[in-house]
């Protein structure tokens, strides 16, 4: 008898699924090698043709998002550059399946080595393309998962997702995977529950499992009691989700009539294309790390990115955070290698160490400011001197732009409250324009539990009294000194944490766009 086992990963698409496990990584059927190189070549050509035909058929049935992914696969597969190395090794005596696998594995390794999430995530597409052809080579047609199954494995191919029938439920549980993968995007848009990063998930599992993709966990071999509580959570999620939709367009108000501002967190200017500004109170956090990829962004690129979001928001506030590189967000040519990066040169510390880069961002922000209601905040502030130094740089650049006759405006300057020193002794910051509590970092520093380490995930709770007490005292300090206080960590969008945050005195939350409706619905159930 198996004992129930709960594994923790990361939610890539919220929802609940209860069903039999289905192993995505079952060994495929064996390829029957041919007598001559000419036959191997013909066999690979036929398999590529077959895979292309299947993709074309899938495009017919797909919606627009899915079709554009399939069209990318088709374009890659139609490109002779992709198959050239495989055909070359067939000529030198290799079998079609090995030749193709090795050629594609080489290509996949190139994507996996990229330092950009987006290109790294394309490795999954290349694996999909590889396996489509291998499947055609081995004629393994028997690969359909039972309806309502929880598909588990190392990773899942986009085509695998598309050919699966999700009408009777089901979900996805992956050991690796990425929340930025094509499948994760598809899963979110179709409402298919998906959890990634379940590192302890073993191969060869079978039987019933419970996938809680709201909190990012899976229970294997559940007890009857666990099934009962899982179903309660699941039905409460469905109810909340249905109810939440009706809340999206309305301002957030508690049961007792207290207004709560709900803003959104965005990672880049293209995020706003999918958000109706009428559904939120502004942008509580715009990250700027997206700009810092392989190359450092110039002033124009940054200016246009900031201006786009400011114009989109109209007169609603947009709080842009100066670059928060370092920690778990390395940037080549900018961040430094450190033994303990979360406690090292990151956020404002790094910006102040690299003034050449920081000044470019400051100028872009000053120039963008006249195009909307801009606020700027600094990440990882630990001491008042850091804030004063950053504010002085803004004043210097402002004066330099003025001297050159460039249109610019000084935005209100605030700080992230995420280093415990600030939360414990906020009185050193009585002159800042606003506080924004970064609950993810504040929690990991107060609890000494790294937020990317699943082994200490149970310690990483914003609802620990120590964290809540600090939040409460920051809110009280802000109230007494006329400094607005908001919160922009993941906790702000978590219906389970929202009651504690409002009880701590917060009235301004900034959440992921996908959590906007649920957060508003959760607020409406609270009596504060």
């Amino acid at each position: 008898m198996l004992v129930p086992l709960r594994l923790q990963g990361i939610s890539a698409s919220a929802g609940y699924a209860e069903g039999p496990l289905f192993d995505l990584d079952r060994p495929p059927a064996v390829y029957a090698s041919k007598a001559t190189a000419a036959e191997e070549k013909a066999s690979l050509e036929a398999a590529i043709g077959k895979a292309l035909k299947r993709l074309a058929a899938m495009v017919e049935a797909a919606d627009r998002d899915a079709a554009s992914i399939l069209e990318f696969h088709i374009a890659m597969l139609e490109d002779d550059t992709l198959s050239e190395p495989a055909f070359a090794s067939i000529v030198s005596g290799q079998t079609a399946d090995t030749a193709w696998r090795e050629a594609l594995n080489g290509e996949i390794a190139g994507y996996e080595a990229s330092d950009q999430d987006y290109f790294r995530a394309r490795a999954a597409d290349l694996r999909d393309i590889r396996d489509q052809v291998l499947r055609a080579l081995t004629e393994d047609e028997d690969r359909a998962a039972p309806s309502g199954a929880i598909l588990f494995g190392e990773d899942i191919a986009p085509t695998r997702f598309l050919e699966t029938d999700w009408t009777n439920g089901g979900g996805i549980a992956l050991q690796a995977g990425s929340t930025a993968s094509h499948v994760a995007m598809l899963a979110r848009s179709r409402g298919v529950p998906m959890v990634v990063g379940l590192r302890q998930l073993e191969a060869n599992l079978a039987g019933l499992a419970l996938l809680d993709a709201e909190h990012g966990s899976i229970v294997l071999a559940p007890s009857p009691a666990e099934v009962v509580s899982f179903r309660q959570l699941s039905s409460s999620f469905t109810t909340r989700q249905g109810k939440a939709r009706t809340f999206l367009a309305r301002p957030a108000v508690t049961k007792t009539g207290t207004a709560v501002r709900v803003q959104v967190n965005i990672a880049g200017p293209s995020d706003v294309d999918a958000i109706d500004i009428a559904t939120c109170d502004g942008v509580g956090l715009m990250r700027t790390e997206f700009l810092f990829g392989k190359t450092l962004p110039d002033e124009e690129t940054q200016y246009h990115a900031y201006r786009k979001v400011l114009e989109w928001a109209g007169d609603k506030p947009v709080t842009i955070r100066t670059v928060d590189a370092g920690g778990d967000k390395p940037v080549p040519g900018f961040t430094v290698e450190e033994g303990n990066p979360f406690l090292g040169l990151r956020g404002i510390r790094l910006s102040l160490a690299r003034l050449d880069i920081f000044r470019v961002q400051i100028r872009a922000l000053l120039r963008a400011a006249p195009h909307g209601n801009l606020k700027v905040m600094f990440p990882m502030i630990a001491m008042a001197e850091e804030y004063e130094c950053a504010a002085a740089l803004f004043a210097e650049e402002q004066a330099a732009l003025a001297a050159r006759g460039v249109t610019r405006q000084m935005p209100p300057l605030g700080i992230m409250v995420e280093v415990p020193s600030v939360a414990i002794a906020p009185e050193a910051f009585a002159n800042v324009a606003f506080f924004s509590i970064g609950s993810n970092d504040l929690t990991q520093y107060v609890m000494a539990a790294a937020r990317d380490n699943a082994a200490v995930a149970h310690l990483n709770s914003v609802r620990h009294p120590a964290v809540l007490r600090l939040i409460g005292s920051v809110v009280a300090f802000g109230r007494d000194n006329g400094i607005p206080v908001s919160l922009c960590g993941d906790a702000g969008g978590d219906p389970a944490s929202i009651p504690s945050l409002l009880e701590a005195g917060l009235r301004d939350l900034s959440v992921a766009p996908a959590q906007l409706a649920m957060a508003k619905a959760a607020i409406s159930d609270i009596s504060v």
Partner: protein, 100 residues
């Protein structure tokens, strides 16, 4: 051999010259007889702009100054059309209509 026509254009698309834009870019390049190549720096390396495998392998993120050059029949038109496609953000603004 005629001299190459060359131009540069800034990639403003949020995630760069990635899957969907690469499909559009190579499809458009293939409509010209000229040899078309792209690079991330003026001194190369140069990649065949008609091969999506090579265009993707260039891994051009947002903010890259993309170099485009063409040689042969319709080289000027090819460069103009491709620069224009990048400037239009690969038509991925409000209109997500699929290209034929």
């Amino acid at each position: 051999m005629s001299a190459a026509t060359e131009a540069t254009v800034l990639i403003t698309h949020a995630v760069g010259l990635h899957a969907r834009p690469s499909v559009k870019f190579t499809k458009l390049a293939k409509t010209f007889a000229a040899d078309v190549e792209i690079a991330l720096a003026a001194n190369g390396p140069w990649f065949d702009a008609k091969s999506i495998v090579k265009v993707m392998a260039a891994k051009a993120p947002k903010g890259t100054l993309l170099h485009i050059r063409a040689r042969g029949d319709g080289a000027n038109d090819a460069v103009d059309a491709l620069v224009d496609l990048v400037r239009r953000d690969f038509d991925e603004g409000a209109d997500h209509a699929r290209t034929a």
